[in-house]
Symmetry: C2
């Protein structure tokens, strides 16, 4: 069974760079990667906050949050 990975972003250039490099480099045979656009999918904002996401882009592996560079604060997304 693959572990869950969730990449939260907002379509920003920094987000796109992280998605195209870091997320693209993940081992898909071991990780089931979901990409969530918090700018358009605002219903997922509470979940992201609960997990500890403070800014995007952020990669959540299991329960651990990794903020990858800085694109936008979560508070600016809604």
């Amino acid at each position: 069974m693959r572990a869950k990975a969730v990449f939260y972003h907002a379509g920003c250039p920094v987000c796109q760079s992280a998605e195209q490099s870091v997320v693209a480099a993940l081992d898909r045979s071991r990780y089931d990667v979901e990409v969530v656009h918090l700018g358009t999918d605002k219903a997922r904002l509470p979940e992201a906050r609960r997990l500890g996401v403070q800014s995007v882009p952020a990669l959540v592996l299991g329960t651990q949050v990794f903020h990858v560079n800085f694109g936008a604060a979560l508070g600016d997304l809604g």
Copy 2:
């Protein structure tokens, strides 16, 4: 041929977390991952600076630098 990935760290808890999760999740069939401890291998500091690493932990994929959370500023390492 595998692409090069370099993970710069300084042994800090934030660094260890990133190494055990993000670096461990990389696809080793596509990436040749090198782990550099800048706290003990200070000779690599100029190279890290040149690449644009400002803090550790940082993951460099090709020429792109991704600062993963914040452990320590490069300036504090020497």
